[in-house]
């Protein structure tokens, strides 16, 4: 098994994970599950970077994965803080509860 075939199959797995996360974002109406699905999508993107970096023995893929990790950590901190605010205010975690704007 050569590395190129492995990279192809790995990219298929990454796109499958990304599709599962995208379906989760689109189908689930609970904001907590949507955040979890976004984490799965970011993880799939990181998997694609690491696989591409490992294909040519370069460290750049892992470095991009670290940047994705930092971005996911910041995103989930702000997202969960917003989720707590919404749950206190609306007693409901559905995305439709916050679809209206004032004014």
């Amino acid at each position: 098994m050569t590395g190129a075939v492995l990279l192809d199959h790995g990219l298929l797995v990454a796109s499958g994970l990304f599709a599962i996360g995208l379906i989760g974002v689109l189908v689930r109406r609970n904001l907590l599950f949507q955040l979890l699905s976004i984490e799965i999508m970011l993880n799939a993107a990181g998997l694609a970077f690491v696989l591409a970096g490992a294909r040519w023995g370069a460290a750049d893929g892992q470095i991009m994965f670290i940047f994705i990790l930092v971005m996911a950590a910041a995103e989930v901190a702000v997202g969960l803080a917003l989720l707590l605010r919404l749950s206190r205010r609306f007693e409901d975690l559905g995305g439709d509860a916050v679809s209206g704007m004032r004014g």
Partner: protein, 169 residues
Amino acid sequence: MVILFYIASFVALVASAMAVSRRNAFHALLYVVVSLLAVAVVFFVVGAPFAGALEIIVYAGAIIVLFVFVVMMLNLGPPAIQRAEGFLTPTMWIGPGALSAVLLVEMAVLLARSGDEAVSGTPVGPKEVALSLFGPYVLGVEIASFLLLAGLVGAAYLGAGVRTTGGDR
């Protein structure tokens, strides 16, 4: 060695599909942890051990714990106690436990054959990653630190609002 890659990928796909289709948040979090561990095994197999360790430490160890904290904060109140007993029924551990057992066997096989090379090319260890991260990519590190600071300030501001305003408005 290649078969380990396919088994771990299959476990990751199954666990992710189960995670987005669960009704209960705790069950979904368990499956997400299994998915992240499976992706970490994929990283180890393809020769990126540093990324695999970071996947376990930061994703499964910090981000998912943050999710668990928030789920527990959302479930305050007397009805949550009856619901919490329903969370921990023995049958719900079978799925994540079985998938994790598959990953454990894979890790045992990997450790037993630790003299071998990675599947694709030579492994890229933490030293190469660190040298490149603080060499050509040092500007990215600075930008990442700014992003983390912004996330910290934003989360602190929003979280402080939860405590002071309480449940009103």
